[in-house]
Amino acid sequence: MITYAYYPGCVAQESGKELDNATKFIADKLGINLIPMPEASCCGGGVIDGFDKNLKLFINGRTLALAEKDGLDIMTICNTCTLTLSEVNEELINNPESLEKTNEYLAKIGLKYSGKVKVKHILYAVRDDVGFDKLKEKAVKSLKGINIAPFYGCHILRPSSTVKFDDVENPRGFEELIKALGGEPVSYGRRTKCCGFQTILVNEATSTSLAGNAIYEAQEKNADVMVTPCPLCHLSLDTYQTVAAKSINKKLSLPILHLPQLIGVALGGDYSEMGFSRHNVSLRGIMAKVRQNEI
């Protein structure tokens, strides 16, 4: 059994609890041992260096040091948390001055960081530590006949010098996972583009047009459902879908799953275990299809 320090990030503990629940459900089924990190703080939502660069280093250096103290790598379920922790890790490993400054702070709270921790997003933890073949073996429902549009988002792909999970120009991890579960991956141009979340409270029109156009393109390619590995993308794509439809003046009605929910459904999770009642766009149609696909 593989063990990770589990860093769910803020949204999965607040408005997106269904993601946290689905993650714990699949981790249990797949033999991933998740150690909670109750001391870990928010990573800064991808914008904290715009306030103070050293604050980003200190609070995230602390999170990395907490995992290192327990001899664990960190598993994330949010793209932005993944990039922020990876950026800080990279800076502390490669810049002795930043490491020294951060360790001076960490020493005052009884911690030390030496750069041993790896940060991995759940998509790639499932690929590398469980394996898609084993995932297929464990599935009790097939996603056969369901057109699934993967929406990678930005921060598990870019910048590829920092997050090195997949081929940034033509990533395949998500598609391979969907195929392993029997689903049909939908190929569309905006699968690696931005959902706009970072400006949703700053310039809603910019933000929602990005999300809206991604959903529209996937719909036009006959997607039954879209899946995202990031709770921030999920807010843009699902919670704001009605606003996004108005923004691009198109009819949108595409259910949006969190990645662990997609895996959870294949592993036998039901409607309430996956928290589907919390979604804006109904998932009843998808669940009706899955129910017929007993393996």
Binding site: S41, F51, L201
Partner: protein, 331 residues
């Protein structure tokens, strides 16, 4: 080895709509996409139009979409593209209107570069070297400003001056896709570069104030595409984030974007967590809240509502100490 070039074609004077045309080209070791296009133009179809000049990744003329990604044709080799995609699919850069085939109208891009005033403002009174004059006999040339420690110690300016204005970042920018008026990565990286220059005499902080207006620095969506796809290894997004930090440290916080960042920092300093409700309120104010009310109400009905009062993280004093150590408590 033979391979296919699939080129976007559009001549607005003749064509009703764009179309693609395929050409078969013979590869040779080290062949670039630009080599292939020149071969097509000289041997197969003289009507194919594209910009090119230096062939050395210096002039930035031959930027285009190659297999969906904005790249310099002269810097992109054919064989790895064929290995990955099986074809050379060439299209014009995005976010700008097409003039013909692979040539785009660059006016909007350069208008935005001009808008940030890409030159030193005013003149510092203590900069005697700026007064050009004929050297008197025996007079030595004063040390150029570039060799002064204050210039060399500039943070973040190691890369921005290397920009060749090729527009790859602009073509890939999520912010420009969502808002065509957004200044974009190249212009904002230049804005940061000038705002940091010790020779610049921007007495009233006009660069940071103007850059904070709508369609400016706070419209960056942080998609990281500008850094990822810059053929010169520049990271405009990192310059934009430094611009954010500089703006907030100078108390220029009238924009929703700066309020958003300050609110997140405040929320972490108080609870260790991101308070979704408070950050939404602080960023958009009452009008933002009213605007989002139907969406929030819908989410609330589904139970998708964040807690009104957040539980502090364990060992919250650690985080408070970080703020104290960095002297950020008052901000």
């Amino acid at each position: 080895m033979e391979f296919k070039v699939r080129a976007y074609r559009f001549n607005p004077e003749i064509d009703e709509k764009p179309y693609y045309k395929e050409y078969t080209v013979e590869d040779y070791p080290g062949m670039t996409v630009l080599n292939a296009l020149i071969k097509v133009k000289s041997e197969l179809d003289g009507t194919l139009s594209f910009r090119r000049s230096c062939r050395s990744a210096i002039c930035g003329s031959c930027a285009m979409k190659i297999n969906g990604i904005s790249k310099l044709a002269c810097k992109t080799q054919v064989s790895p593209e064929i290995e990955k995609f099986g074809i050379i699919n060439v299209e014009p850069l995005a976010n700008m209107p097409v003039v013909r085939d692979l040539i785009v109208d660059q006016e909007s891009f350069f208008d935005k570069i001009k808008e940030i005033k890409p030159y030193l403002l005013g003149q510092r009174e203590d900069e005697a070297h700026n007064h050009f004059h004929v050297l008197k006999e025996g007079e030595k040339i004063s040390q150029p400003v570039y060799y002064r420690p204050e210039f060399q110690n500039l943070t973040g300016n190691n890369d921005t001056p290397n920009c060749i204005l090729c527009e790859c970042c602009y073509s890939e920018c999520g912010g420009v896709v969502g808002n065509p008026r957004y200044l974009g990565p190249a212009a904002l990286a230049k804005l940061y570069r000038y705002s940091e220059d010790p020779r610049d005499n921007d007495k009233n902080g006009s660069r940071l104030v103007n850059g904070s207006k709508p369609d400016g620095m706070w419209d960056c969506v942080h998609c990281q595409s500008c850094e990822e796809f810059c053929p010169k290894g520049i990271s405009p997004v990192k310059s934009i984030v430094k611009l954010h930090e500089r703006t907030i440290k100078n108390s220029i916080t009238f924009s929703a974007g700066s309020k958003h960042v300050v609110s997140i920092a405040k929320s972490i300093g108080e609870t260790g967590r991101l308070d979704e409700i408070k950050v939404a309120f602080d960023s958009g104010g009452i009008s933002g809240l009213i605007n989002d009310l139907p969406m929030a109400f819908g989410a609330g009905l589904k139970g998708k509502i964040p807690p009104l009062r957040l539980k502090l993280i364990k060992d919250m004093d650690d985080i408070r100490l970080a703020y104290k150590e960095l002297d950020l408590e008052e901000k």
